[in-house]
Amino acid sequence: MRQRSLATAVSLLSGAALAYEILLIRLFSIVEWHHLAFLIISLALLGYGASGTLLALARERLSAAVCAALFGATSIGAFLIAQRLELNSLEIFWSTRQFGRLFLLYLLFAVPFFCAATAIGLTLARHAAESPRLYRADLIGGGVAAAAATALLFAVHPVTALQCVAALGFLSAASFNVGRASARPSGGVGGLKPALRLALLGIVAVLGARPLLLPLRMSQFKELSHALRVPRAHIVDERSSPHGLLTTVASPAVPFRHAPGLSLSFTGEIPEQLGVFTDGGGMTPVVRGRDLAYLDFLPTAVAYVAPRKKVAIVGAGGGSEVLNALAHGAEEVTAVELNPQMVQLVRELGGPYGHPRVRVVTAEARRFIRESNERYDAIQLALVGTHGASAAGVQAVSESYLYTVEAMRELLAHLRPGGVLAITRWMQAPPREVVKLLATAIAAEGHFVLIRGWNTATLLVKREAFTPRELAAIRAFCEERSFDVDHPPGGETFNVFEGPSLSDAAAALLTDPEDFYARYKFNVRPATDERPYFFHAFRWSALPELLRLRARGLLEWGYLVLVAGLAQALVASLALILLPLLVLRRRASEPTWRLVLYFGAIGLAFLFIEIAFMQRLTLFLGQPLYAITVVLSSFLVFGGLGSGFSARITRPRRIPLLVAAIAVVMLLAVRILTEVALGLPDVAKILISIALVAPLAFVMGMPFPLGLRRLAEADVPWAWGINGTASVLSSMLATLIAVHFGFSVLVLAAAVLYVLAAMP
């Protein structure tokens, strides 16, 4: 009874903490921006590390049940306070006050993680002999929660999910209480009553907090906030899923007029639109009006200078590019959209997805390309996101499998003879994305034409050379609309960009790409499936010049946030773990360096491998959300089983070596299998993924409990803290390694770390 309730308590709490992490990312993506969510949560997770220090110092006076209940209370409390803190993250480069607020947010969210980790670490330390079973409960709880949280987000609003997580904290507290009460000689069922009372009380409080949590307070600078500030603008629909919060806004007084890159020669009106926002940004219009003349003046219309019968629109969103294809006489349009709720919503709002000539495919873009057996006369990669987001480089460290050399080859392979691929991007000054796109097209051996308006560029790629007739038609199209043809060069210039022209860039890339990559002050080397970071353009060598010029507008947010986060986490882990460890540690059962090396190395390596496999299998499974959930859950569940099994291991020293070996073998296996098994149905692919992860995760679950086994009780909290800190550093370090060296190097680095951990 006692052991079982303790294990249950640990499972519940570990699961609650992991679900909390997933929910915070969701909630912060809505009220702020995704990259900031990543930063705040990464730093807050240091609460895990700090708990080790507290446990080492004051273990005797702590109660796991109280800590678990505190997790329940502070998980909601922290979010409530954060909503009232008025952080303006955009101002951070200018204002120390905002820096202070950001720091406060780290501290605030570290508290719930700290409470959860203290409760679990305390249990591990007090029951060291049972650590394999308890650690198993910890990992399995996390694994189940990762899947459950994603499923829950399909069913309920993120705020409701947050309430569930807090309630779970209180349930765990009750379970800890039962465990403790039944440990007493007079125990038995006696502990049940106060425990349940505590849980009930907590859950009632959590339910009562709802009016304080809703509505979510969104940053005043988000697109949706701007839209709703306009007179008579109002929300007509709101729905939520793990893909994002979709908010539909009608604005009768000042209509939406979304027409990215519209020609300066257009003199007509833009028809009525509804605005659909994802997480308060990235507005996509659903066109309601009938007058579609403007569509022919968008840069994307250049794809239709020749008749295109069969068209695919990738990233179709609200469907305006689908309308564009229909307006230009397409007989069959395939609209590819990732978010099923978006498809449903656009249908309900009267968008073009119900049109008899339109076929909707709900899938991730790359997956659609890989699995489609059809060929098209034109494939459009629609322009998504905002000019501001593109300028700020917020996506820099997000993977995208749509803009890699391999993807470009696959796209070209799906063109009919004479067919064209059209990709439109926002222009940045100086240009980055468009130059990289050019380099990608050249690496994929496509023939291309590049046209440009005042704020967008459209790249047309074909398998064959463009005919003189096509070129003449494109030039006439551009001439009429004040667009420029940058490649092939020649013709009138309507829009001047300072700095080296795209014509020159194209010419240089065609003659000596390596020389151009080296000389360009941004990273424009094409992205590959191994390093799918199309949006990452920052080069360290340009930093001194950018800072000297005070060119804040040219800094790349996503990447800098990652580096700044890592730097801050390093400092914080020194202060929270390493210094106390060196100064305060007594009664050593093992030298300090050895403790740090072992638990640090396995902490870093676990996430390196997890993240590398997550990415590799995302490409295989073709749906990031499910891939991440399947891989994360499998790693945790099988890791947990491995931990439970570790009690039977007699030669613990060799286990890390075994992990290193299996990791390298699995890396090769993943590469081969994911190519061979590409065409299989989803269920088979998911089973293959689990089968690939299972053996590796199983052995990866062992080193931690095996390491604990040889420690004195007083050292267990330190090991817990070091491991927790290493995991936090690991998630950021892993991304950085992947950006610069690719996923294979990441797995190899993990293997080296396991070898280091095995050193006597």
Partner: protein
């Protein structure tokens, strides 16, 4: 001249005068930074003189007064900002306005940009869609005596038909495209400027010119001179 008298009076007693002088020095410094390639060492002297007189601290929220003359953008509420002084000066300079010009501004915000334009031109028309901002700016500009500025609470997309055509247009509210009515309301030979980028990081300034023949050309101007290509190896 009558217009300048309140400024002169203000300058005589204004505790912020030194801060303002420091701000103007910083702008001059920023301009010199960017001069390397363009060969432009300074902005129009008239623009710099105006930057030296406009009481920017009266255009920012009370609690940010102390930072009013820092060379940085500031939030003014309702998701809007007052631009960095350097960017305001640069945009004003790029418009090349003359004393007889009639100017349209889309996105009044605090009214600071309109105030900067006021002494340089004949008339400034400015449009703001956020009602409280439009009201505040109207009251503020009236109280400070900018008689040649008119504020209207309206949708800037359609410009200001009754006052058109304009010699210059400044669009501080971002859009996915340049509104056709604004191009129509720009005089041949006129100039329009649009800052591109986030509210706290202007990445480039888009200059739209309408030739005497009515043709429209754009030019992207970087606020900094950053040449993205290193020289080829010899």
């Amino acid at each position: 001249m009558r217009l300048l008298i309140p400024f002169l009076l203000l300058a005589a007693t204004d505790p912020y005068e030194r801060a303002r002088a420091r701000m103007v020095n910083e702008i001059a410094q920023d301009v010199r930074f960017t001069s390397g390639e363009t060969g432009r060492v300074a902005l129009d002297a008239r623009v710099m003189r105006v930057m030296r007189t406009i009481p920017r601290h009266l255009f920012v929220p009370e609690e940010l007064k102390s930072a009013a003359y820092a060379n940085r953008p500031l939030p003014i509420g309702h998701g809007q900002t007052i631009s960095q002084p350097y960017i305001v000066a640069l945009m004003t300079d790029l418009l090349r306005v003359k004393p007889a010009d009639v100017v349209l501004e889309v996105g009044t915000g605090s009214g600071y940009q309109a105030a900067v334009l006021s002494p340089l031109v004949k008339q400034v028309h400015t449009v703001e869609i956020v009602a409280p901002l439009a009201q505040q700016a109207t009251a503020r500009l009236r109280a400070l005596g900018y008689r040649n500025v008119t504020v209207r609470h309206a949708d800037g997309y359609n410009g200001w038909k009754e006052a058109a055509p304009f010699d210059a247009i400044i669009v501080t509210a971002a859009a996915t495209h340049i509104p056709p009515p604004l191009i129509q309301q720009l005089k041949p030979g006129g100039r329009m400027i649009i800052p591109v980028g986030g509210p706290f990081s202007t990445q480039s300034l888009m200059l739209v010119e309408k030739t005497a023949a009515g043709k429209v050309r754009t030019r992207s101007v970087l606020p900094v001179v950053f040449v993205p290509l290193t020289r080829p190896k010899p």
